[in-house]
Amino acid sequence: MRDTHPLMGFVSRGFRGKRRDTASSARVPPGQYVVTDFPVLSAGPTPRVNLDQWTFSIEGEIDEPKRWTWKEFRALAAETVTKDIHCVTKWSKLDTTWKGVSVDTLMEGVETAAEFTTVFSDAGYTTNIPLDDITGNKAWVVYEFDGQPLHPEHGGPVRFLVPHLYFWKSAKWVRGIRLQNEEHPGFWESNGYNMYGDPWREQRYWGD
């Protein structure tokens, strides 16, 4: 169903472009460009989160749902990871450093037949991700960026981080993971964006 090069051979008259150095270009997926700042994209106002009432849950297809308070969550073993991130609006940011809890840690002891998940957030935001894409050292629930507490505009106090998929899958203000037997499209996935969202296959939109 891909249709990336129907206009093979087309050249934009007079366009030369700003070239990247080759070292970083191998790390930049097709159609992306590198930024050094950190753009903000959200569909609505930035929610202000009360940590006294904050919890993180794993629910759905699980015998006993799991839930952590802020204090319990912060007591979990944390990791610091450095990853490249890729936003569907075309920017990529290289070597971003995050601190948080691996989803593998949260899923310890969980037995489930579910193959899909919906990651859900405070503002009512949801995104769907296959379970295999958030386990196996591929996803984190993070609360620090660049050594600082995560700013609310960037999803603080806690956001999801699944860097191998387009960044809308890394839900801001995350509150939990719902384990599901079927795939249910999330917020952007219901609004024209790809169900899976692999930047290297440029799966931006429906049908890509």
Binding site: M1, P6, L7, S12, R13, A43, W91
Partner: protein, 249 residues
């Protein structure tokens, strides 16, 4: 019309038919795009440039034209350190072809089917998708009351100034409020400061019920405007936002 179901969004060629300089840094580009499938007000488009050695650059731009308009319009701000916008505003000439695909996005859209009041708050080139909504509104028979609060740096930076005057003077249901953040021209009757609580309170409807709200602009502008609306009691879910950072283009 746009179907709700999944659909392939293919690359196609548009031909630049007309350039209108809106401000010293902003131009509108009108394309003939025979294969364009139609769009909703507020949606955007992807643009792809290809150099002769195959190097490519892609960016997204809001659509400025109404769904009813004959030509597809983009309004682009030239960012001096950008890669794509200096090509679109400066290099591209009438008759040149441009690769584009769309429409994209199903959330920041206004269909104009309801008579609920429409509140638009735009900063700089963030006014572009809001203009698509106002142009669309001018075509629909039963017009929702609409208000636009538009923040620009200087008088010369006000995009669509004449068209906004024309639309609002011909239509009692539309009110346009300007604010300038870096200039106080002689004889100016609009606001001359950054958007704040007092300004928003004067502009918006006192009742927060059933108002469609769209806010678009630089991140700090959108954060300020959306936070003010929520503090005034607007339901966060009714406030739709689009932000763009200092980079881009």
């Amino acid at each position: 019309m746009i179907s709700r179901g999944p659909r392939l969004i293919t690359w196609q060629l548009g031909v630049l038919a007309e350039i209108v300089q809106e401000t010293p840094r902003v131009s509108s580009l009108y394309f003939d795009a025979p294969d364009w499938p139609g769009h909703l007000a507020g949606q955007h488009i992807d643009v792809r440039l290809t150099a002769d050695d195959g190097y490519q650059a892609e960016r997204s731009y809001s659509i400025a034209s109404a769904p009813e308009d004959r030509r597809l319009a983009l309004t682009v701000e030239r960012l001096d350190d950008g890669e794509v916008s200096p090509y679109l505003v400066g290099e591209l000439r009438v008759g040149d072809k441009l690769e584009l695909r769309g429409p994209i996005g199903g959330y920041f859209v206004w269909r104009g089917e309801e008579e609920r009041p429409l509140l638009l708050i735009g900063g700089g080139s963030g006014v572009v998708p809001l203009m698509s909504m106002l142009r669309h509104r001018s075509h629909v028979a039963r017009k929702a009351p609409a208000r636009l609060l538009f923040s620009s740096r200087t008088l010369a930076d006000v995009i669509y100034h004449e068209e906004l005057e024309r639309l609002s003077s011909a239509d009692g249901g539309l009110r346009v409020f300007h604010t300038l953040t870096r200039e106080k021209p002689a004889g100016w009757t609009g606001y001359t400061r950054r958007i704040d609580e007092a300004m928003v309170k004067e502009v918006v409807w006192p009742t927060q019920d059933m108002v469609d709200v769209f806010v678009c602009g630089p991140t700090s502008f959108v954060e300020a405007a959306a936070s003010l609306l929520v503090a005034m009691g607007y339901d966060p879910r009714a406030v739709k936002t689009e932000r763009f950072g200092a980079t881009g283009g």
